[in-house]
């Protein structure tokens, strides 16, 4: 079915193979990689998994044409945006979904390469201490004691969603502080 070497390729490499070498298997593998995630996102808007699966198929058929037409630099953020736009366009009547502040800046995947590893602890430790109490507590429990959301919720008494949002918000604030300090290699 799918060649084994496709599993080693990045999203962008697969996109290139599909768009420029007309390797259909590359797009099929991208569907294997992201199809279920797209279906879950669509289920937020449709409220029905069957409609979500149908929407997933239509989105990927549209992608099959767009990848050849447009130059896609970052596939995952582009796919996420495509999925949301499709659902907003076709399922406006659905209830609005709280995406927990999911922004495109959350896809900054190369943050760990922008910080020198030797100075990572020295830079991040004072910044984590400057976060508010809920964010600091949740981040410390999550990354220091390797607790899950549920475990943190049990220990702190916060709601699971609050724990999740606190961690995500704390990471976002850390990025902002790093950007402001100028210690990030841009």
């Amino acid at each position: 079915m799918i060649p084994a070497d496709y599993r080693k390729l990045s999203d962008e490499e697969l996109v290139f193979r599909y768009a420029h070498k007309y390797e259909h298997a590359a797009l099929i593998y991208l569907f294997e990689r992201y199809g279920h995630i797209v279906a879950g996102v669509c289920n937020n808007y449709t409220g029905s998994i069957n409609e979500a699966k149908e929407a997933t198929q239509k989105i990927f058929l549209q992608i099959a044409e767009d990848l050849v037409t447009y130059k896609i630099e970052k596939f995952k953020p582009w796919l996420f945006q495509k999925c949301r736009n499709y659902c907003l366009l076709n399922y406006k009547g659905s209830l609005p979904v709280d995406n927990n502040g999911a922004l495109s800046e959350d896809f900054e995947e190369d943050w760990q390469y922008k910080i020198e590893e030797a100075h990572m602890a020295e830079i991040l430790q004072p910044m984590v201490g400057s976060l508010d109490a809920a964010q600091r507590t949740c981040i410390e429990l999550f990354y220091l004691q390797n607790l899950t959301y549920n475990a943190i919720a049990e220990r702190t008494g916060y709601d699971v969603s609050t724990v999740k949002n606190s961690i995500v918000s704390g990471i976002r604030n850390l990025k902002k502080q790093l950007m402001a300090s100028g210690k990030v290699k841009l």
């Binding site: 099929i28 979500a52 927990n100 959350d106 549920n150």
Partner: protein, 330 residues
């Protein structure tokens, strides 16, 4: 807080697989697995939103995710971009000779329409045509037509007469017009064809020539006499024409002259001076044509002595006859 643990705060791991997503959404993961998944979820809003959506749909939604497959994409590609599996076809197709041989054969079929073959065919056609029709040019031509035997003096005289009057009046005039209109003779396969001219047999009769076309010497001419009552003379003409039409062109001139002389003799004895002179002049011309100048001279002298409209023509003929002898007619 150790730096190693904080290294994972900006996680860049790949998204959750279908199994991981289902397991996490269904709370089937152990704490270590769940924590690893949550490390990714902290930095991946895509997976985070997907898990929220699946958890919103309940167990049915989580189980249904596994039914997703890429068959629709394969169908889509097979419709829009059909791929031929040559290896599977190869077994069904019977073995054929080498590929280059079949190509060569194909080219050979179309070689019939090349410019080379067309030009060769054209040359062959031209050669065949030349072999068939080119030989005609080598065949000998027939002798000069009879009208060329008419003395040039007569032609000049008669043509001058026609020019003066504007239209031909006598049969002789028609003969002159016909002779002037005659084009060079074409090669004829049957040179023994009968040649008859109107001037040979008819004199002093107003005629209307219905056939004044070229090649008159080679074609029998239909003569319509204007005076319908002169049936006797018509019979004479037809009588005179009958034997001549059966003979060759070599004896035509002699016969014609003899006929003209014989038909002119009765008229030469008539009381009408003009008719007598015309008949004498015609007979003299015939004698000259036949080479009997000694018989023509008395006739011409008589015309000159009597005087009249034929006097000048007679003088001209006398001058022509006696040019060598330097005879002074006057």
């Amino acid at each position: 807080m150790s730096s190693e643990q904080l290294m994972h705060i900006f996680d860049n791991s790949s998204c959750l697989t279908k199994r991981q997503l289902q397991a996490y959404a269904d709370n089937e993961m152990i704490s270590e697995e769940a924590h690893a998944a949550e490390v990714h979820l902290n930095t991946c809003p895509f997976c985070r939103m997907s898990i929220e959506g699946l958890q919103l749909g309940g167990e049915y939604a989580i189980e249904s995710v596994s039914e997703l497959n890429s068959r629709f994409l394969k169908d889509h590609f097979s419709i829009n971009h059909p791929q031929i599996h040559l290896n599977s076809i190869a077994a069904a197709v019977p073995h054929q000779p080498a590929h280059h041989i079949s190509k060569h054969k194909k080219r050979k079929k179309t070689a019939l329409l090349t410019p080379w073959t067309i030009s060769v065919a054209f040359l062959l056609i031209i050669g065949a045509w030349y072999m068939e029709f080119g030989r005609v040019k080598t065949q000998p031509k027939i002798d000069a037509p009879a009208h060329q035997n008419i003395p040039s003096a007569i032609e000049e005289n008669e043509s001058a007469k026609v020019e003066e009057t504007g239209r031909p009046e006598t049969a002789k005039d028609y003969a002159v017009v016909a002779a002037n209109n005659v084009k060079p003779a074409k090669p004829v396969k049957k040179p023994t064809q009968t040649i008859v001219t109107t001037a040979d047999y008819v004199q002093e009769q107003p005629l209307t020539a219905t056939d004044n076309r070229s090649g008159l010497d080679n074609q029998p001419v239909t003569i319509n006499t204007a005076n319908k009552s002169s049936s006797e003379e018509k019979k004479k003409i037809s009588k005179a024409m009958a034997p001549i039409t059966q003979k060759s062109s070599d004896g035509i001139a002699e016969k014609r002259n003899a006929t003209i002389i014989s038909t002119s003799k009765p008229t030469m004895k008539s009381d009408d001076k003009a008719a007598r002179h015309d008949a004498a002049l015609t007979a003299a011309e015939s004698y000259i044509d036949a080479g009997k100048d000694d018989k023509a001279i008395p006739l011409l002298k008589q015309i000159i002595e009597e005087g009249g409209p034929g006097k000048h023509a007679a003088k001209r003929l006398m001058r022509q006859i006696t040019r060598d002898d330097e005879v002074n007619i006057d």
